[in-house]
Structures are given as C-alpha cells and as structure tokens.
Symmetry: C2
Subunit: 365 residues, 2 copies
C-alpha cells in the first residue's frame, strides 16, 4: 500500500482542535490497514507569525511542495489585526495557493437532509441542494499588481488593487468546471460583472468560446455576480456547477455554504494542474469555514468539515475513493444517530463536543 | 408651492411600465394640490442606444444636470448583449452616477410584515428586518483606470480593472453612513476585504479614524465582505447601517434586498454632496430591482418600488416628507387590502397587474 505524504497545517483559532480529530481518524485508518500516511505538521497563519515572524516559514513551504497533499485548518483572528500587511495570517494561505499554483478551488455546497432545518432558509428552498462552486484561486484582484497604498500628502492616501485575468487563466478554470459538470448534472453557470468590468467581458468571451469549441454537450448560462447572489438566496436549486473568479468566488461560495445550514460540514479542495511527467497534482484541502476565534479553545467546534477534507484528499489525491466513501458514511451514520455539534444542533438532537464527535466517527468506522 | 423639476428616465425592460404608474401618482398629487411638478422625459440605456447610438444623449445629460431630481426605471437586457462596451445600456446609468457625482447610494432593505412569507428565508429570520446599505457609487473598480483589454498575441488577451480609493472618497461615504445611523439604531457595519486588498486596508483605517474623531457615539463594527454576506443570510437582523464600496455594495445590497422577499418594493436613492452655495444636492432615485426583461411588456411588473422612489424624492430632494408618508401609507393600505403583483403574491391574496396596482394606490390616496 502506498504511503501518502500528508502535511497538516492546523493554523489558528479552531484549526488545531478540528485537526486533532483528523489525526484520530488517520490513526484509525492506519491501524485498520486501510491507508498509510507519512504525517508531518507545521505552522501557518498567525501562529507561524508568532513563531517565525512570517505567516508561513520557508521550511513549511518546502514541506508543502514535497507533500502529496496538504490539509489546512484555518488562519487568522483578531489577535493579529495589527501585524504588518505582508505577514498577516492570510498571507500564509495566499502564498500556499500561489506558490503551489492551486488555481482551482472546488467548494461544494451540500444540504444534508438531516440538517436542512439548521438553515435560515425554508426547508423546501434548500433541501437536496447540491452546488459545486469552482473558484479561480491564483489570479484576479488577490494577486494583480499594482497593489499598494500611496501617500498623496495633505492627509490623503490612495489605495490601489488590480484585477488581472489572462485568457489562459480563464480557460483552465472553465475547463475544470465543464469537466466536473459532466460528472454531475451537466450544467455550468458562469458569473462575472461584464456590464462594468473588462475582466468580466473577457471572462464571458473565453468561457463561451471554450464551451462552443469543446463542451457543447454541457449547458452553459451566464449570470451577473449580483444577480447570481440574489438567485442563490431565492432559488438555489437551479444551479449545478458555478464557475467564477477569485473575489466573486470568495463571496458567492460563502453564501452558498451558508444556505445549506451545514457550514461546519463542508470541505473544499484547491488543486493545481496535473504534471504530465508524474501524473501528480498539487493539492490542498481545507474546511470552507474559517478560524472562528469566538469559539476557539472551547472544544465545541464541528470537526466534520476537517475530517471531510481528509476524505476529499483520499478521493482526489490518493485515489482511495472507497476509503473516502467509508469516512463519509461514518459521518452520515453519526448524524443519523442524532449526535450534533452546537452549530448544527436542532431540537431533539444530542449536542456533543469536538472530541466526542471525532470519537463517534471513529467508532462508527 | 415650489414646482419640482423632475426628469423621468424610464429606460428598458419593465422600466416604462412601472414609470407609467409614477406618472399616474404624480398627476394625482398635482390635482390634489399636494405637489407641483415640471416633468420631463428622456431615454437612457438600450432604448437610448437604439435612438441615438449612445446609452444616454448629451441632451439627456444636460436635462439631468438641470433637474431637481431624476427618477430612473431600469437599464439593460439581452437585446443589447452585442453592442460595443462603451455604449452598452449600463454606460448610461454609470455616466449619470459619475457626472452628477452621486457618490452615496442608499439602499434600504425592509421586510414588510405582510410580505415576510414571500421571502425564501424563515419568517422569524427576516420579519421586521430594516437594514440600510450605504454604497459608495462613484469610485472603486467601476471607474478606476487602467480598465482595458490588451491583446498579447498568440490568442492570449489580458483584461485589467483597477480598484482605486482615495481617503476623501472613503471619508465622505462613511460620514453619510454615520449620520444616517444616528437617525436609526446607531450602528454602522463597515465591510471590505482588508485581508487581501489594499483598498480594504485603507477603507478600514479611514472609517475607524473618522469614527474615533467625530462619531464615537455611533457603534462601529468591521466585517469582511465574505463574512458579511454569510451573516446577511444567517442572521440579518443584527445589522442597521452597512457601509461598503461600489462592488461589494452592488452584491451585498442585492442579497439584502432579496432576503426581504420584497425586491419589487424597494426604492433607492443616489445622492451627491450638498452644494454650499445653493443648499441643493444632485439626486437620482430608482428601484433596487433591474429591468427584468423576462416579464417586460406583460403588464405584471410590480410598480411599488418605482412609486416608492417618487416618495423618496419628495422626502429627500423636495422636503415634502408629509406627502412621501402619504404615498407610503397608501402603498401599505393597498397591501393590507390583499392586492399583490405576482412577485409578492402568496396564498389568499389577490393578484393584480401593474396598472391595477398603480390605480389601487391612487384610489387609496
Ligand atoms: C482567509 C482569506 C484570505 C480567504 C480568501 O479571501 O480567499 C478566505 O476567505 C477563503 O475564502 O478561503
Ligand atoms: C446595472 C448595473 C451597472 C448596476 C451596477 O452594477 O451598479 C446595478 O447592478 C446596480 O446595482 O445598480
């Protein structure tokens, strides 16, 4: 059995707590002879800044590059509000994305039937929801230059960020979306603001041309980002795969996740291109939720999204879809038994802490 | 009684239908001796392009500058998908905003109790919701330069948009937000992405400094745009006034509006600075909803947001708050009587068309 080199970057806030439950599951998988891991651990985010003065050390970057996959908890928190821009916690995550060239961020928004009542939306609006947001992750306003603040004198400053997209960047993310749509309900919704942004004009043009050239069998629709945000709230089940840029993807995927009432349940994958020489692709898996500083250290965070990220790694990076299925079934089993962390609790369920949830999933396995 | 110079720009899609009902109400107000208007009409958007080859003519711009206030219906539609970028329908609206320097866009999101069931959210999540989004409207990525598409050769193009904010632009919109908060529940939530954007860093810095200098009595909180989008879906009633930039404001205000189930009910105001010489300020009022090409010409669009825009003009531009109240009470009365256009219909209500709704409001007046 192949040994998977897995780097765990627990990060800040609830990151370490939920990552501990991943280790519990990984250990069980090894003992059961279902998978073999070479686990490494390192720092990212505010804790890395505290230790090294940088949001990720060169050493951790080297380990990330050498790993078969990276699991990341979460970064950031009010503790680091005052640190310099270049070394803020998020810089560690952004560097991982950029240097590993993880251009494709897959964020599923799934409404678990057992959790539909935890949504702020009406049950019939979200029950059965299954959307996949495909977000471009290494371009756009996150990385474009110039990105600076200029002192104009007289108490005035000017801040500049630059949204840049090249044809090839749009093409490669759109092709990921079309390919994934073929394995799902065969529909892609592309979103931008072509009515006010030049990058939106190019985005729409490139996606349309690629569709007409290579993916005519997939249904393609275009929806402006503001209108899509509305439609997500109004009638989310009309969507299958949504493809969009880095910034719109940030917002739209969070909305989609929140609709489901299952934010603490949702893992995500950030993938690079397949290396034609080795057949390998760089990959980072992380929960959709953030570092939740308000509940950090209390032992009440939901570890399911983090454990689901391990399942995603097994499926997409390690070709062990059967083991991934098994983890997901164990999660479903624990939910069916009525156990819930606080974020997904509802009347009649039993509220448990982070560790109990992890243990229950291992027991179910 | 002062005569108000009001320019009506009905625009595209359902614009003309809903604007016709404004004329009906204005006529009644004149006959009743409650207000006096010098109404002018002109084109904006796709219809202006069809007539003049530009999304707004110089003549219409001159009229807009001379008017006491502008009422705008909506612009755009698939008919003009292929027109050159510079003359697309939205360019007319953007030029009005920019040339009249309408930097402050006020977008209330109110959930009318009678309509709470029309929301896709649970009644208890949205009932009584009353948020005011204060969106910066003449800066940011909408207008920043460079804004272009470059041909790189080899089939590759590069699209560039630029987000630019100066200190004074952030200060003036934040001060509008703080002032309005004082007339409401005294809380401002400022939103940006300071964790990835330099404009977000400056935004947060300037808003905080202004608060500490001049608005310490108002509660201020900062919420990242992605997190705010989530919170709007999760627990929207925690917000009072939200202040944000042009692009985030576009998306967040649409989400907020959609939560209420009352999108067809919501007017908005875009205001310039008060001219110290004349005491006047440029102003444009328009519904939050768009041109809805799918239902245009069918006589089923909801005219209430458009009629509400006239009420807003009376209140904010013409100092006739009493007449504005009267219009809003008439709208409430018609809703209480059970009459609804299709977008806000629910079991047990009577569905009426655009004209019937306009007539019912006049009758109630
Ligand atoms: C932490 C932050 C930099 C990040 C982003 O904006 O991309 C987060 O919100 C996300 O969506 O992964
Ligand atoms: C029509 C369009 C240019 C406009 C915008 O993006 O500002 C609209 O969506 C709005 O919110 O008023």
């Amino acid at each position: 059995m192949a040994t998977h080199k897995l780097l765990l970057l627990a990060g800040d806030g609830i990151g370490p707590e939920v990552m501990a439950e991943v280790k519990r599951v990984a250990q069980w998988l090894e003992q059961a002879g279902l998978a073999s891991f070479a686990l490494e651990e390192d720092l990212v985010g505010g804790c890395a800044y505290d230790a090294h003065g940088a949001a990720i050390s060169e050493d951790a970057m080297a380990r990330a590059k050498a790993a078969d996959a990276v699991l990341l908890g979460a970064v950031g928190g009010p503790k680091w509000d005052g640190v310099p821009y270049e070394v803020r916690p998020e810089a560690g995550l952004l560097r991982l994305r950029k240097d590993l060239q993880l251009f494709a961020n897959l964020r599923p928004a799934i409404c678990y039937p057992a959790l539909a009542d935890a949504s702020s939306l009406k049950r019939d609006v979200v029950e059965g929801l299954d959307i996949l947001i495909v977000r471009e992750l290494t371009g756009g306003v996150y990385f474009g230059e110039p990105k600076t603040i200029i002192d104009l004198g007289n108490g005035q400053k000017r801040a500049i960020d630059t949204q840049v997209y090249d044809t090839y960047e749009i093409e490669r993310i759109a092709s990921v979306a079309f390919e994934l749509a073929r394995t799902r309900r065969n529909k892609v919704t592309s979103s931008e603001k072509h009515n006010v942004m030049r990058s939106g004009v190019l985005w729409k043009e490139v996606v349309t041309a690629l569709h007409d050239r290579a993916y005519k069998d997939v249904e393609l629709e275009h929806n402006l980002a503001d209108s899509l945000a509305m439609q997500l709230v109004r009638r989310p089940k009309q969507f299958d795969v949504i493809v969009t840029d880095n910034l719109f993807g940030d917002i739209l995927s969070d909305i989609a996740a929140m609709l489901t009432g299952s934010l603490g349940m949702l893992p995500s994958a950030s993938l690079g291109a397949v290396d034609p020489a080795t057949g390998k692709r760089a990959a980072l898996y992380e929960p959709v939720h953030g570092s939740a500083p308000d509940i950090a250290g209390k032992g009440i965070a939901n570890p399911i999204a983090m454990i689901g990220s391990l399942a995603m790694a097994l499926r997409y990076s390690f070709n062990q879809g059967d083991v991934a299925d098994r983890i997901e079934q164990a999660i479903a089993g624990v939910l069916a038994s009525g156990k819930r962390t606080g974020d997904i609790a509802s009347p009649g369920t039993e509220t448990v802490g982070t560790q109990e949830m992890g243990k229950a999933i291992v027991a179910e396995l």
